[in-house]
Subunit: 196 residues, 2 copies
Amino acid sequence: MLLLRDLPRYECLLEGARRFPELDPSACEVYLHVLRAGDEAFRSCGEPLEAHGISAGRFTVLMLLLRKRHDACGAMLTPAELADKAGVTRATMTGLIDTLERDGFVRREPDPNDRRMTPVTLTPAGEALLQGVVPAYFQRMGSLVAHLSESERRTLVTLLAKLVRGNETEDPSVTSTDGAAPAPVCPSGSLNSSVP
Amino acid sequence: MLLLRDLPRYECLLEGARRFPELDPSACEVYLHVLRAGDEAFRSCGEPLEAHGISAGRFTVLMLLLRKRHDACGAMLTPAELADKAGVTRATMTGLIDTLERDGFVRREPDPNDRRMTPVTLTPAGEALLQGVVPAYFQRMGSLVAHLSESERRTLVTLLAKLVRGNETEDPSVTSTDGAAPAPVCPSGSLNSSVP
DNA sequence: GGCTGATGGTTAGCCTCCTAACGTTATCGA
DNA sequence: TCGATAACGTTAGGAGGCTAACCATCAGCC
């Protein structure tokens, strides 16, 4: 991910708005800060993972498998399910599983009932890796927001959720000047990932 | 960028905290929302760029060059300066400039005074591309935060800035248990990119 | 039973990002 | 004056994203 490291000052945005009448300075400021904070959070919490020789994408896959295992039911997920939960394409998930299997952290086990599927399961090595890296990961997450009070955290979460939600329902703006969007097809209702 | 598309509910975080004592549920919730919002903003504002056949990275380079041009002084920047302002490595910037030059949007012109440098300048084609894409880009930025009031925007910016700032000065935590960090070497004072 | 369509996983090719190393050029001190 | 140091830009190799296309398999429906 790449971005502007040095955010322009508000006066510069005002000045830019003179050249670009579409520029809303306060909107731009929010946008830049959201991007900057997301990048900062991603990098910061990624450090303990890299220190243990694992990337954020691989870590996400392992955590999803671990969560599934603790759900008591069959401790496996198909690549398609993993891709959906992680928010990447199936092709990307194939690559992630490839390297994870190469390194011995997961195992593909063909499903005898439906031979199209190849569910993935966590190996003991994968679980051990998680046990080693998860504490540092969560600690870093805590120090990331250590300077925010509980009420500030609630406010921040509320505002970010509002931003994301408002943008989701607005998304069919690709077909602009067209009014009457057919239906907000956003796949909501998928927040029940870890409850059976 | 890859992430969890379906954020776990707060009860799930509380339940996860039982298995991982290091997990601070409110910190984790902030972290996930910051990441999710950053991803949403990035994708959303990236759409108009992709529609014009340009990626976010290339767009950033062109905008930096345009801003420099409007600063009246010499309208060129070296790859190292561009990399620094954009927050990527010099190697990455080389690749970006390669494709931009291949497509005719920028031009490398060796510096006669210091033959190590190869300043980059915006071509008329590059400027025309920006003229075509910038309005849609800023409009999308505005609709991204359209649901937030002015005071909500200010609050959000304040909280995100506090998070980033607090994390920057905390960053030498790699050498933890070591106390008395020598000096917060964060390259602050670099926010004056567009004022001579 | 045998098409047809939908679904699951993989492959191929491209782009962007990184680190590490290299060659070239300036600069500066002995 | 000349070698050491530092800075600039590039290259090589790897990882992680994406889209588009491809087979294999299942489910339905004549």
